[in-house]
C-alpha cells in the first residue's frame, strides 16, 4: 500500500532504493481462552537503508507488537497469523528459530523500553555487554571481547567505561542504563535498530541527550532506526517518516513533517491537535463560570460591567484568597539507614516557599528526585513536616491533629499518578467513590448512591460504571474515578500528583479538559505536580520549577515559558520533544 517512490532530499542517508525492511499485510493474533484476538490487522511498512521511521500510536494500537514480531519476540501467546516481514528480501516469518537467532542482534538490534528492568541485576554491566558481543560473534578471544566491550560502552557515552565494567546495574542511573542498552543494541553494527519507547522512562533532559547521542551514532554507522513511541513530538523530531497506528492498523504514513503539518486521517488530526507543545495555550473552560472565584480564568471577552463586578468580588474575597495555599520555608529531611547503625540525612525538600491563589492552578515542575512529590505529600499531611509551614485557607496544616486533621481531609483531596494503583482492585467503582462519604458520615445510603451517580456524571462516565471494577476500566477511566472520589466531599483544593503522566495523549487531553471545567464550575484550587512542561502550559496559571529540593524559578506560566531566567528552566523547555516543531492545528 505504501508506494516505494522516494526523493533523494527526503532521505539523504538512503544508499539504495531497495527497501531494507518491508512489512506486507502483517496480521498478529493473541490466543486467548475465547479464541484469537487480533492485535495487528494488516499492517504495511516500508523502510529503506539508512532511514529513520517512527511508529506512533496509543497503548493498545499494536505498535510494539508489530515491532517485536520483526525479531520474533512476541510476548506470550502472540502469533503472526498472516502477511510477510521482508528483511533484505528474506521473509522473517518463515525463518527457523536458529536462523532468527543469527539475525537478532547481528542484523537487527533492539533497545527495550524500560532500562530499570532490562538489565539483569545479578550480573555486572561488563558481563552483560560481553555476553551480547560473544553471542553475536563480533569479537573472539577474551582480550578482544573485553576491548570491544569498553569500546561499545564508550561509544554509547559512558566515558569511564573501563572502570565501570565490574559495576552492577543498580549502581547506574536510569539514563546510564539506557546508554548501556543502546550500546548492546548497536554492539554488532546492525543494519536496523528497533528502539521501543527507548526513553519514555527517563527525564526530559536525559531523554534529549540520549536521543541526540543515538542519532549521531546511527548516522555514523548508517543504521536504520525504527522508533516505537507514543509521543508525536518525539517522533517528528527524530524520524524522517511516520507511521500512525490505530487499533492494529496503519491509518496514515509518510514524511513526518508533512503528516504533522497536514494530517489527513481524522485520527491523526486528533492526535496532532492533542499533542501538547509550546505553541499551545492554557485550556479555556467551555463552561460558563458560575463561581465567583473563577472570574479570573474566563475574564477574556466579558464586558466592562461584568469585569467590574468580578473585580469587586475578588476584592471582597480579600487577601486570604490571593494566598489560599501558602507554603513558607518548607523542608523535609529523611533519615536513610546506611547499614549498621549509621544513618545519613537526605534533604528531599529544602526551604521551599510559594503561594497559590484560590481557584487557580499552580504547577510544581521538576525531574525525578526534585522533591516535587514530597511537597505534595506534605501539603496533604501524608508526611510530617520537618520545618517550615503549610497554610491552607489560613490554617496551619502541620499542627493539625485528630478531629481537625479529619476535617482538613475533607477540604484537601489528592489524585495520584498511577491510575492502576490508586484504586483498590477489590472495590467496585461505586464503593470507591462512596468511601469518602462513608468515612465522613455524609448522608444515608440512598443519598450517597445519588451523590455517586452525580459524581460519575460530573466526570463524564456512564452511570452503569457503578458496579464495575477497576480492572475493567482503562487508565483514563480510572483516573476519572480517582477525580470523582476526590470531588465527593466537595473539597476546595485538589493535589494532583502526576495525575495525567501515565495516560495516552488523547486521554490526557480529555482529563485536562475535565479538570479545567471542574475548576471553573466548582472554583477548585489545584496544586499540579508534573515532570511534563508541555502539560504545564495547558493547565497551569503559575509555575514553580524545582531542582534538587529547591524552587529555582517561579512565576506565571506565560512569563516562564516566554522568558525563562534560569539555565535549568531553559534546558527543561528545550528538552521537550517537538518543542521547536510547527504543528498543523
Amino acid at each position: 500500500m505504501t508506494t516505494t517512490a522516494t526523493t533523494p532530499e527526503q532521505s539523504p542517508r538512503a544508499s539504495s532504493t531497495a527497501p531494507l525492511l518491508e512489512i506486507k499485510g502483517l496480521k498478529i493474533g493473541f490466543k486467548t481462552q475465547a479464541g484469537y484476538v487480533d492485535a495487528v490487522r494488516g499492517v504495511d511498512i516500508t523502510m529503506r537503508q539508512g532511514e529513520s521511521l517512527a511508529i506512533v500510536g496509543e497503548s493498545g494500537s499494536g505498535k510494539s507488537t508489530t515491532a517485536t514480531s520483526i525479531i520474533d519476540l512476541l510476548p506470550g501467546t502472540g502469533e503472526v497469523t498472516g502477511g510477510q516481514i521482508l528483511f533484505e528480501g528474506r521473509d522473517l516469518t518463515k525463518v527457523t528459530p536458529a536462523e532468527m537467532q543469527q539475525i537478532r542482534g547481528r542484523d537487527i538490534g533492539y533497545v527495550p523500553q524500560d532500562p530499570m528492568s532490562n538489565l539483569n541485576p545479578v550480573w555486572s554491566i561488563g558481563f552483560q555487554v560481553e555476553e551480547a558481543i560473544k553471542a553475536n560473534g563480533v569479537a573472539t578471544g577474551k582480550q578482544a571481547v573485553r576491548a570491544r566491550t569498553i569500546e561499545v560502552l564508550k561509544e554509547a557515552g559512558l566515558g569511564d567505561a573501563d572502570q565501570r565494567l565490574k559495576q552492577f546495574p543498580h549502581q547506574f542511573s536510569g539514563g546510564m542504563r539506557q546508554r548501556v542498552l543502546i550500546g548492546i543494541g548497536l554492539s554488532s553494527r546492525p543494519k536496523l535498530l528497533i528502539a521501543d519507547e527507548p526513553t519514555s522512562a527517563l527525564d526530559v533532559t536525559v531523554q534529549r541527550r540520549i536521543l541526540d547521542h543515538l542519532e549521531s551514532l546511527t548516522r555514523d554507522y548508517g543504521t536504520s532506526v525504527l522508533f516505537i513511541t507514543h509521543d508525536l513530538g518525539l517522533a517528528a523530531e527524530r524520524a524522517e517518516k511516520l507511521v500512525v497506528m490505530y487499533k492494529g492498523r496503519v491509518v496514515e504514513s509518510g514524511p513526518s513533517k508533512e503528516i504533522l503539518a497536514n494530517p489527513q486521517h481524522p485520527y491523526t488530526q486528533r492526535l496532532v491537535a492533542a499533542a501538547p507543545s509550546l505553541a499551545s495555550r492554557r485550556i479555556q473552560s467551555t463552561i460558563e463560570p458560575t463561581h465567583a472565584h473563577a472570574g479570573e480564568i474566563a475574564a477574556e471577552g466579558a464586558d466592562d460591567a461584568e469585569l467590574i463586578a468580578r473585580a469587586h468580588q475578588r476584592e471582597e474575597a480579600g487577601k486570604a484568597d490571593a494566598e489560599y495555599i501558602r507554603v513558607d520555608n518548607l523542608s523535609k529531611t529523611y533519615r536513610i539507614r546506611q547499614g549498621g547503625f549509621k544513618t545519613t540525612e537526605l534533604k528531599a525538600v529544602d526551604d521551599v516557599s510559594f503561594a497559590i491563589p484560590r481557584g487557580t492552578t499552580t504547577a510544581l515542575v521538576g525531574e525525578s528526585g526534585s522533591g516535587k512529590s514530597t511537597v505534595a505529600k506534605l501539603v496533604l499531611q501524608l508526611e510530617s513536616i520537618t520545618s517550615g509551614t503549610v497554610k491552607v485557607g489560613g490554617q496551619s496544616v502541620g499542627a493539625l491533629r485528630g478531629k481537625e486533621l479529619f476535617d482538613f481531609r475533607r477540604r484537601v483531596q489528592p489524585v495520584f499518578q498511577d491510575p492502576y494503583g490508586s484504586l483498590d482492585p477489590m472495590y467496585s467503582v461505586g464503593n470507591t467513590i462512596a468511601e469518602p462519604l462513608v468515612t465522613h458520615g455524609v448522608g444515608d445510603r440512598k443519598s450517597r448512591q445519588a451523590r455517586v451517580r452525580e459524581l460519575l456524571e460530573q466526570v463524564s462516565l456512564p452511570v452503569s460504571t457503578v458496579n464495575r471494577y477497576p480492572s475493567e476500566l482503562s487508565g483514563g477511566q480510572r483516573q476519572r474515578i480517582a477525580v470523582a472520589r476526590a470531588l465527593a466531599l466537595k473539597p476546595d483544593v485538589i493535589v494532583l500528583d502526576e495525575a495525567v503522566s501515565a495516560l495516552d495523549v488523547l486521554v490526557q487531553g480529555q482529563i485536562l479538559d475535565l479538570l479545567t471545567d471542574l475548576q471553573t464550575e466548582l472554583g477548585l484550587t489545584y496544586l499540579f505536580i508534573t515532570h511534563d512542561l508541555a502539560v504545564v502550559r495547558l493547565i497551569a496559571d503559575n509555575v514553580a520549577v524545582m531542582q534538587k529540593g529547591r524552587v529555582v524559578e517561579a512565576g506565571t506560566t506565560d512569563e516562564i515559558f516566554a522568558a525563562p531566567s534560569k539555565q535549568y528552566t531553559r534546558e527543561l523547555l528545550e528538552a521537550i520533544p517537538g518543542a521547536a516543531f510547527e504543528f498543523g492545528r
Partner: protein, 318 residues
C-alpha cells in the same frame, strides 16, 4: 502549513480508507460486558479447568462421607467382628475384605473419613485465623510488634511440625481431634503468618492505601477494608494445600500411636493396625491408605487450581 485539503500530498504519504478505519470516541466505556470483580474472574477461570471439577467432586464426596457415613454402609465398623474372617479377602457385602480383627474394611474406611477430615479442617481454620491476624498486624504496624512476632514465629518455624507434635502429643493427657488440630496448628501458624505479613507489606505501600489515608480513613479500618482483602489471596492458596498436609500429619501421628487414640476410627490408626500383617494381607492397609491419598490429592489439586485462578500475574487483563 495549515490543514489544507487541496494541498498536494507527497507520493509516499499514505492515508487509510476512512471506512476501513473508523475512529471511535476517545476512551469510551465498554458497557456491553457485565461487571466483574476479581472473584468473578477467579471463578470464571476455575470453572473452565477439569482439575477443578474433579477435585471439587472428590472433596464434596469425602465431606458427605464424613458427615453421613451411615449413608454409604450399613455394616458396623466396630461390632460384629468375626475372627474366622480375620484378614479375609473380599466377599459379598464386604467389598474390601476384613481387618485383622475381622472387621469390615469398607465400613472402617467410610467411618474413618470423619476423624481425618475434622482434624484437617480444624487445623486449617485455626492456622488461617491465627496466621492472618498475627501476620497482618505484624506487617501492617511494623516496628517492635513486627520484630517480636517475627522472632517468635521463627522459633516455631525452626521446629518441624511433626516432630514438635510428636513430643507434645506424647505428654498430653487427652487426645481428641481437637487437641490434635491444636497441636498441629501450634507449629504450623508461622508459615501462614509469614506469607500474610509479606503480602500485607506489599499491599500497604500501594497508592490506594495512601488515597484512603488522605480521605481520613482510620489506619485500622484501612487494614480491614483495603489491605487484608488485597493480601489474603496467597493465604487462601496455601491454606487449601495445607488442609491436605494436615490430614497426612494426623495420619502420621495416629500411625505412630500418639495421634488419635485407637478407639477413634481414623485412616492413620487403621494403617497402623494393618501394618503388622502387611506381608500376608496387604489390602487392609492399602484401602485406608488409598482413601487418604485420594483425599489429600484432591485438596492439593484444588490448591493448584485456586493458585492459578488467584495469581494476579495469570489474570492480567488490562
Amino acid at each position: 502549513m495549515r490543514n489544507d485539503p487541496d494541498q498536494k500530498l507527497s507520493a509516499d504519504h499514505f492515508v487509510a480508507d476512512l471506512d476501513e478505519t473508523p475512529v471511535k470516541a476517545v476512551d469510551a466505556v465498554d458497557e456491553s460486558e457485565k461487571p466483574r470483580s476479581s472473584w468473578n474472574d477467579a471463578w470464571d477461570s476455575m470453572k473452565k479447568r477439569p482439575t477443578f471439577w474433579i477435585s471439587a467432586v472428590l472433596i464434596l464426596f469425602v465431606i458427605v462421607v464424613a458427615i453421613a457415613p451411615g449413608l454409604f454402609t450399613h455394616t458396623s465398623p466396630t461390632r460384629g467382628a468375626s475372627l474366622p474372617d480375620s484378614n479375609g479377602g473380599p466377599e459379598a457385602g464386604h467389598p474390601m475384605g476384613f481387618t485383622l480383627q475381622g472387621l469390615d474394611v469398607y465400613a472402617r474406611v467410610v467411618y474413618g473419613a470423619q476423624a481425618s477430615l475434622t482434624v484437617g479442617l480444624l487445623a486449617t481454620i485455626i492456622v488461617t485465623i491465627v496466621g492472618v491476624v498475627i501476620g497482618s498486624l505484624a506487617g501492617y504496624y511494623g516496628g517492635w510488634l513486627d520484630a517480636v512476632v517475627s522472632r517468635i514465629g521463627d522459633i516455631f518455624f525452626a521446629i518441624p511440625t511433626v516432630l514438635g507434635a510428636i513430643v507434645l502429643m506424647s505428654v498430653l493427657p487427652s487426645r481428641t481431634p481437637l487437641t490434635v488440630a491444636l497441636v498441629l496448628s501450634l507449629f504450623a501458624w508461622p508459615q501462614i503468618a509469614r506469607i500474610m505479613r509479606g503480602s500485607v507489606l506489599g499491599a500497604k505501600s500501594s497508592d490506594y492505601v495512601m488515597a484512603s489515608a488522605a480521605l481520613g480513613v482510620s489506619r485500622f479500618r484501612i487494614l480491614l477494608r483495603h489491605v487484608v482483602p488485597n493480601a489474603i489471596t496467597p493465604v487462601i492458596v496455601v491454606a487449601t494445600v495445607s488442609l491436605g498436609t494436615f490430614i497426612v500429619a494426623e495420619a502420621t501421628l495416629s500411625f505412630l500411636g500418639i495421634g488419635l487414640p485407637s478407639g477413634v476410627m481414623s485412616w492413620g490408626n487403621d494403617i497402623d493396625q494393618a501394618r503388622s500383617s502387611l506381608r500376608v494381607a496387604p489390602m487392609p492397609l492399602i484401602w485406608p491408605a488409598a482413601a487418604l491419598s485420594v483425599t489429600v490429592l484432591s485438596f492439593l489439586m484444588m490448591g493448584d487450581v485456586v493458585r492459578d485462578a488467584l495469581d494476579p500475574k495469570a489474570r492480567a487483563r488490562r
